[in-house]
Symmetry: C2
Subunit: 196 residues, 2 copies
């Protein structure tokens, strides 16, 4: 008996279930099935998210030889010269939202930008392909979430432009309508459907 998958499956190498859920919903719009691959990742230190994502996807691919997608996000605050930038995850783990709000105390210019880079590689490609999504907004004056479990990372202090809610006050559907990550995954989805 020959077992065939109806649609091709790709694997999202991440240990962040929230990121995975956001990606899964977006990719479902393109009828792309995605599995979560919990793998120790290698991230290089670079101010360039694309460089980080490309190195990560190649590292993950060489460990499993499956079609792999990775995502790397950064938050840049204008008044802090781009901090925390590509080190958002580490900064969140240490000083967190409270630390970022403390750094922004008394600061009028609250402009910030979330960026997401999705990198994909499979054995059929010569090199990884990248898709970038970005959203501008501002840093809220305090943490705000829909409920105690809503949002992750800097979501509770980021208000996207044209909105009054923080990312953590939105439902997943609302957030996915215009988040940096959803935009990047949507670009990937379009490319993948066109090239598959």
């Amino acid at each position: 008996m020959v077992f065939r998958l109806k649609r091709r499956v790709i694997f999202f190498a991440t240990s962040n279930i929230n990121k995975f859920n956001e990606a899964r919903r977006v990719l479902a719009e393109f009828k792309i099935s995605v599995g979560m691959l919990k793998a120790k990742s290698l991230e290089i230190q670079s101010d360039c998210l694309e460089e980080v994502a490309k190195a990560s996807v190649m590292y993950a691919f060489r460990r499993c030889y499956l079609p792999i997608v990775v995502e790397d996000a950064g938050l840049s605050v204008d008044a802090l010269k781009g901090f925390p930038g590509p080190y958002a995850a580490y900064v969140y783990k240490t000083i967190g939202n409270r630390g970022l709000l403390k750094l922004m105390e008394g600061v009028k210019d609250r402009k910030a930008r979330f960026e997401s880079v999705v990198a994909y590689f499979s054995g059929e490609l010569r090199e990884p392909v990248c898709f970038v999504g970005a959203v501008t907004g501002k840093i809220a004056l305090s943490e705000r979430r829909r409920n105690t479990k809503a949002g992750f990372g800097f979501d509770p202090i980021f208000v996207p432009s044209g909105n009054r809610k923080t990312f953590a006050e939105m439902s997943l559907e609302e957030k996915n309508r215009n988040s940096h990550r959803a935009n990047a995954f949507r670009k990937f989805g379009e490319w993948y459907r066109a090239s598959a």
Copy 2:
């Protein structure tokens, strides 16, 4: 005519002239000559300095095949859960000493620790060797330097234990007596002399 070097020369891959000067003085105690090699480095993202330094030294070695030393330093502030940690250089470049002092406003526990890892590799070794130096201390209440040019990085806000001066208020000789970097390079110097 055969040209012979009286002593062997190693190369410190760094773009930071201050680090180079500190290392040069310490290595001179061991009669080790060191050249500065300005090279684009590759730094992986890891909370483990040794991992970062080993990857860096191998990357630099593969570009020149010379005996290479690299150094990676981190500053961990207890009350900030270890922040800025291995990302000290990026954090310094963005929020700087002022940002770190702002995060520490009203914080009583000012304990901090500077750590330095020196990694060395040459074609004669099977794998890189690492030497760790550390110094405990505390975060000062404000920036203090000997003169406007003294110190670099977080030196003006770090007071090593048993001292009243910040690193930036000390002469290079004073700082090298017990800095994390000097300690790591001293350990390397001892090993190098013993194994050369």
